[in-house]
Amino acid sequence: MVRVAVIPVRYASDRELLEISRRYMLSLSLEEMKAVQRYFRKIGRDPTDVEINTIAQTWSEHCYHKTFKGIIETQRGVVDGLLKTYIFKATEELNKPWCLVVFKDNAGIVAFDEEWAVAVKVETHNHPTALDPYGGAGTGTGGVFRDVMGVGAKPILSTDVLFFGPLDYPYEKLPPGIMHPRRLMRGAVAGIRDYGNKMGIPTACGAIGFDEGYVCNPLVYAGCVGIMPVRKYTRNPKPGDLIVLAGGRTGRDGLRGVTFASAELTPESEKVSAVSVQIGNPIEEKKLLEAILRARDKRDKPLYSAITDCGGGGLSSAVGEMARGLGADVELTRVPLKYTGLEPWEIWLSESQERMVMAVPKENLEELLEIFRNENCEATVIGEFTSTNRLVVRYGGKIVCDLDLKFLFDGVPRVRRKAYWTPPCEEDPEFPQPGDLMDVLKRILSSPNVASKEWVLRQYDHEVQARMFVKPLVGVHQDGPSDACVLKPLKDSWRGVVVSCGVNPKYHIHPYKMALSAIDEAIRNNVAVGGRRIALLDNFSWGNPEREETLGALVEAVRGCYDGAVGFDTPFISGKDSLYNEYRLPDGGYISIPGTLLITAVGIIPDVRKAVTMDFKEPGNPVYVLGLTRNEFGGSHYYMVLGLKGGAVPGVDVKTAKAIMDRLVEAIDLGYVRSCHDCSEGGLAVSLAESSFAGGLGVEVWLSKVPVEGLNRDDKIMFSESNSRFIVEVSRDRLYEFESLMKGLPYSRIGVVTPGNKLTIHGLKDRVYEENIWELKRAWKSTFDW
């Protein structure tokens, strides 16, 4: 008995339309419901549940990015689409020939060398992780692997950036239905670990941050880098090609995950969202990966004409997207199920993991199915692409969905929203310099955002595949924090991929500067090991964009992205946004995350053997600081540990920053640089301490030598978080060459690497601050000594 409900929308009143949207969990607005109503009035019938769910999924914020494509009224005028006006525009203006596929497919693709390309994608998986940290984070990782597999690339690196509430958050204060940050963090780390390790994909490069704003809405950014031969890329489905569903079986798991992702969490979420939780099975995905790679490489051209991941929105989204401009005819009874009893709309929308959809020319079918059989991976023909421009779905022959693809993809009314933003007060608080600055340094080193994440990193296998050249932990004891990781993807070439990230939600009080800072940090980390020709990915996690000030902040951040990308000559190649990261309290109030922008940078290094790590290498080598140190303490760790508020968020002088970075890369290539570390949270003092204890060597520096602008206090020079700065150790015998290369830029020789185990900082007025580096290291490692 086929259970297909017909939903009477044609004669529904506004109130009834909203009621339908609520009852079927469609997350559609009145205006969108009205567009649906108009369409079905025109064709003279009411939609089935399959149809209305297909529309809701396709039009969801998660799939369609309504806010980023909408029209936004700001104080600076009307923005006609954030993506078009800022993000895409930067890429278009830079127009790099090495950007092969940008913003079009599952992942961004850039050239690696003449023959090979690198595919990159970063996703968010926030809401599922809040409900089930292990399953949510794991499937987030599995999903982003499939994005990279969905362009035909082999995953070679998994990255992850996580944000949670404070680990010492009191239980009494936890809102109902919310898990403690400690549990969330452990669950998420275990989920990421198990997915990557079991699939044999190294996990490295990431960050973990803590802030009260994430108590109800933890953030999980999962990223993946893949490698593929350039000529194996194909996305060209033709009418008559068969639709093949491969991988895991379909069940009820993850139903409506997409519309759920576009809604706020409430105390009720725990009860109603049970089916939205996806459970991963990395072994299944490993088989799928092997089969796809074999189908890709069996002949000169892949056996499929197009391939995509079956992710958010399930088949409806995967088949729908691929059928765009063509048409498709699908028979749902052919879909292999985990158990019986699924209704047609459930099969069509299920977000069961480890599934991919391919378009396969008929003449290749047998060969392809043979490969999948050999890999013990199920693959089934579920339909055919047509040229009708209609999405037809049948169940046992009976049509349960027949939609015009043009309406489905272009019929969504553009949202129109207002945005408003008030610049924050950036005035500095008055306070005397604390007496014991080394104690402050230790407090910053042990603060959770800065402290060593070795406990996490050691659970991830970063050695599998044997491609990791600069690892996440470096130095004499292999526990210093690497700025970026360097991979050597090919056996017969020394050329490497450099992956790094930049994120600092503490700067969210000034989103424009936060965006510039994140870009600067991501590129800075990349350059610090020797990366260049950098491509960027943007991932926004924000609150409810229907609120003017929240959207205003988002617009500011996106504006910063454009200025940063163009200024640094680094195009965006892919991105994703996750909005509505809010928790609605029973009394109607809400808790929103701080607007968080993650920038991932992917660079190239011509010879991985020339890569530089951050640990000091040899006593007697001069130590330089590149870049200006300014009075920039807004959102800084220094103010945080002192309990102070205010101060200017670090800005970026893009032109100078770029000049410094270009010159630094040159110095690295010429072999002048022995170690290099970027300055970020906690400033100069933290970077010096990290380089010291990572290298097991002391350092002696003079603050009077540090190039500053408007600073005359020891504490401020030590802890300012100004962007675009590096600590560079130069070979003793290359000192003059290095200095002549840096001529004209803000830089200075501030001291020397010493053989002892002391960090010695000479203040401006004869004061000397000194601490044993192993004491500093103990502070840095104590927080996560689990």
């Binding site: 089930d132 399953g135 239980y171 798991d253 725990e270 049970a274 939780v277 299944e284």
Partner: protein, 165 residues
């Protein structure tokens, strides 16, 4: 002959049991004091045309690691009584119906690979044995905070036989 067997796999007494150790640490870390001893047991509930020799073969070849683990099995679904002892709280944590059990999937596949054709259905769950200064309210709190996620798990607490209620 269609029947149900339950196989329980745990670490040997004298072996370091990292799983149980971690659980004990996590309970303490999540703010519940008084737990002195924890042991975890992985249960495989197997259904199909299986006789005792099949079960023994599955245990030996698939379900346990002979170096560090030991196993026991019973006919039927009830295993909690096996662990009932004075002072020991038994907690059973299972997936809710509809949540995909990937470990069970691997067991089904593994059984086929080693030639046990009679296995038709598998379900896995975990039993936690807890002892220390505990009462029902505290164990309930441990379940909610640490052992079970109410979104995907159901749990059942067995009070020790000697506890007055």
């Amino acid at each position: 002959m269609e029947n149900v067997w339950s196989v329980c796999v745990g670490y040997k007494e004298e072996q370091l049991d990292p799983v149980s150790r971690r659980v004990r640490w996590e309970i303490r870390d999540l703010g519940v004091k008084g737990v002195e001893w924890v042991k975890t047991v992985q249960v495989f509930q197997l259904k199909g045309r299986l006789d005792e020799s099949d079960i023994k073969f599955l245990c030996e070849e698939l379900l346990h690691d002979p170096i560090v683990q030991e196993y026991t099995y019973v006919r039927g679904e009830k295993v909690a009584p096996l662990f009932e002892k004075p002072g020991v709280w038994v907690v059973e944590v299972r997936y809710k119906p509809g949540v995909f059990d990937s470990l069970a999937g691997s067991v089904l596949e593994g059984a086929k690979v080693i030639g046990v054709q009679g296995l038709e259905e598998a379900e896995t769950y975990t039993i936690y044995l807890l002892s220390g200064d505990l009462n029902h309210k505290k164990v309930e709190l441990i379940c909610r905070r640490c052992l079970a996620n109410p979104i995907i798990h159901s749990y059942k607490i067995y009070t020790p036989p000697d506890t007055s209620t």
